[in-house]
């Protein structure tokens, strides 16, 4: 039957008669969405709290067992056939997209009220809506995976990697939130801390302890720019990136030639100028010679961006314009810590952004510091994360990666093989 005739049949056909196609599938999707909103409205507690181990594991097992059972014993039933077919897949993916789209449009904030919030629209990530959408996708995706991937052979490999991989990622990530722990740890220099606290400020004892030995910030060299002294705004005629300040360097800013005579990354005021210093609160400072390209006039002086102890210094250029130093940008945040665990010797580690060490099932991330003191902060705040389901999700992610490579390689051939059939 050609597609044209099919759709004629579709039009004349009674709703809910076998086989279910798009009309039924999308109706089911809408009913699920409405059910999600309804549950949200009638239950007093907003959203879904995924249970922790072992209840989440158990839920997953029941779901998988049900799908396998349906596949083994009711494969020929209209319901299973429909759920493992494309119309159900298309409508479940559409429902999931719709919920995600709402999430991408509506600002999410916990604790707001009104009917909108009560229906779940302001906490979509843990609403019954998203649970319904995910269950529909998982049921459809699970059944088609079982139907199409078994018996296992090379021809099914790509299909299996993509569909089972996605199933594992969605199921593992959702059930895993039940056991996911994200805590903060405030480390003051020299103190040994063995507990973390969560968003509600509840404290939790940890199987390890951390002592902050040192916190420091590495910076890029500061930049020089011409600013309006009254507004603090960058001069209008400056285009692109400002020049970095390096000792001995020469650069131009509109209307001026500038030579860097001296540059101290860390300096303390000394009479008219600055001298090298390692004191807490020492800002960078540079001695510049400035030549106006119009008049040929030459100024000389020090600039510094200042710190929480020292006020900034500029060179006045006339016309209310000043030559000033911008605050250096951060290159690295580094916490040097000593970690104590129950079984092993204490270990010295470095924690920085994008380099989070693993300790007793937790990962330790550099999160923040005392921003009012900047690089002289004596406080480092860590975010620590425990996610025992991560191996499950990563299994799925690596299957999907392999599946994507399979598509890259076979791309078109998936189609041509099909059309040859």
């Amino acid at each position: 039957m050609s597609d044209k005739n099919k759709s004629k049949v579709e039009k004349g056909r009674k709703m809910w008669s076998d086989p279910w196609r798009y009309r039924e599938s999308f109706t089911v999707a809408l009913l699920l969405l409405a059910t999600g909103i309804l549950i949200e409205l009638v239950t007093p507690h907003p959203g879904v709290t995924v249970p922790g181990f072992p209840a989440n594991m158990f839920t997953g097992m029941v779901f998988i067992t049900t799908l396998v059972f349906l596949h083994l014993f009711y494969r020929k039933s209209p319901l299973v056939k429909w759920l493992s077919g494309v119309p159900a897949a298309v409508s479940s993916i559409t429902l999931f997209s719709l919920v995600a789209l709402l999430l991408g449009i509506i600002p999410q904030r916990g604790g707001s009220d009104g009917i909108f919030a009560a229906a779940g629209f302001t906490h979509i990530t843990n609403s019954w809506m998203i649970v319904m959408a995910q269950m529909y996708v998982l049921a459809s995706l699970g059944l088609v995976t079982l139907r199409r991937s078994l018996p296992l052979n090379w021809k099914n490999a790509g299909f299996l990697l993509n569909h089972a991989g996605l199933w594992i990622v969605i199921a593992g990530a959702s059930l895993g939130t039940g056991d996911l722990q994200r805590l903060k740890m405030d480390l003051h220099k020299g103190e040994t801390i063995w507990y973390g606290y969560d968003a509600q400020n509840r404290t939790y004892e940890l199987p390890f302890a951390v002592r902050l030995d040192n916190f420091h910030i590495e910076e890029y060299p500061p930049k020089a720019g011409i600013f309006d002294g009254r507004t603090g705004r960058l001069a209008d005629d400056i285009r692109g990136d400002l020049p970095h300040i390096y000792e001995g360097d020469e650069f131009t800013l509109p209307g001026y030639r500038i030579t860097v005579e001296k540059f101290f990354p860390s300096a303390w005021p000394d009479g008219e100028g600055f001298m090298q210093s390692d004191e807490t609160g020492s800002p960078p400072a540079a001695k510049l010679t400035v030549t106006s390209s119009g008049s040929g006039e030459t100024y000389s002086g020090w600039i510094s961006c200042g710190s929480f102890l020292i006020s900034p210094s500029y060179i006045m250029l006339g016309n209310n314009m000043v030559l000033a130093m911008t605050e250096p940008q951060t290159r690295r945040y580094i916490s040097e810590v000593r970690i104590y665990t129950q079984d092993d010797e204490p270990e010295d580690k470095i924690i920085e952004v994008n380099d989070a060490p693993r300790v007793s099932g937790w990962r330790l991330y550099q999160f923040s510091y005392d921003t009012s003191r900047g690089k002289w902060s004596e406080l480092s705040i860590l975010e620590i994360v425990r996610d025992p389901w991560l191996p499950v999700v990563y299994t799925g992610i690596f299957m999907l990666l392999a599946g994507a490579l399979y598509i890259l390689w076979l791309g078109k051939d998936i189609k041509t093989e099909k059309s040859k059939e």
């Binding site: 050609s2 597609d3 494309v86 119309p87 897949a89 298309v90 993916i93 559409t94 999931f96 997209s97 995600a100 789209l101 999430l103 991408g104 449009i105 509506i106 600002p107 999410q108 979509i124 990530t125 990530a173 996911l180 994200r182 890029y220 692109g240 990136d241 970095h244 940008q329 951060t330 290159r331 690295r332 945040y333 920085e352 952004v353 994008n354 989070a356 990962r363 991330y365 975010e383 994360v385 996610d387 991560l390 999700v393 992610i397 999907l400 990666l401 599946g403 994507a404 490579l405 598509i407 890259l408 390689w409 791309g411 078109k412 998936i414 189609k415 099909k418 059309s419």
Partner: protein, 265 residues
């Protein structure tokens, strides 16, 4: 090896690639005519690869920190992937298209060398940054091409001169683009785990990237199930690209995106 050597390597590679991808289109065949493009393109890849390796060694770190450095990798991978795809499917247009994209990045690096010293905030200093961005850009480029095809398809369909081969072309582009999108999404998730502690937080940028991915997933399944329908999938493609554009640039302007960690302005 230093940046000052880049004009030589960049220009020579560009010339080799342009000649190679042009000769592919010339009429005629024969063993020599067929071999020349391969030799030129491989020579370009080798030369550019040599420059990258030498730069890496002389800097003592991966040259992936600055924007200029990431553009080097774009340029390299676009050329290399275009060539691999050509080896695999013999798509001449794909080879030319990737090489043109690659030239854009080489030219930017030649014309704006001052960007080389740009600083990178610590979160971006990750080995996942470059592959994540490269595969996304590549995926976007392919899906952009698929959208052009779909618009042409809708135009022809309107005048009833639509040909089947056109949608086959958009299928191919979508399959390739979708695979790159998948890689980009997953690299992003792994990177987020390394940098921020969780692989998925439903941040607005992530959410929109995910919806984009689902939109192309819908197209793939719909096409698979209804090989002879064309109008609906062509419209799906155009809509999917609008979502893609919102995910790429538009997210910054959405009310839901206030405070997103991925909005760099």
């Amino acid at each position: 090896m230093e940046w000052t050597n880049f004009p030589f390597f960049g220009v020579t590679t560009a010339l080799l690639w342009v000649m190679g991808s042009a000769i592919v289109w010339f009429p005629g065949s024969g063993r020599i005519k067929n071999a020349i493009p391969h030799m030129l393109i491989i020579a370009g890849i080798a030369l550019f690869g040599f420059f990258l390796a030498a730069l890496w060694i002389s800097l003592g770190r991966a040259p992936m920190r600055t924007l200029g450095e990431t553009r080097l990798w774009y340029a390299f991978f676009l050329g290399a992937i275009g060539y691999i795809a050509y080896l695999r499917w013999r798509y001449k247009w794909f080879l030319s298209y990737s090489i043109m994209m690659s030239l854009v990045f080489i030219i930017i690096n030649l014309v704006f060398p001052e960007n080389f010293s740009k600083t990178l905030v610590p979160a971006l200093q990750s080995p996942w940054f470059v592959p994540h961005v490269i595969v996304y850009i590549f995926g976007y480029a392919l899906l952009g091409a698929a959208t052009l095809v779909s618009v042409k398809g809708l135009y022809l369909d309107y005048f009833r001169t639509f040909r089947k081969s056109l949608i086959a072309l958009s299928d191919n582009l979508v399959y390739l683009g979708f695979a790159f999108l998948t890689l980009g999404l997953l690299f992003g998730a792994i990177w987020a785990k390394e940098a921020w502690g969780h692989y998925w937080t439903w941040d607005p940028k992530e959410t929109w990237a995910f919806v984009t991915w689902l939109a192309y997933l819908l197209y793939i399944h719909y096409r698979h199930f209804h090989p002879s329908r064309v109008r609906t999938p062509l419209w799906m493609l155009s809509c999917a690209f609008i979502i893609l554009l919102i995910a790429w640039f538009g997210v910054n302007y959405l009310p839901a995106a206030r405070g997103s960690i991925h909005v760099y302005t």
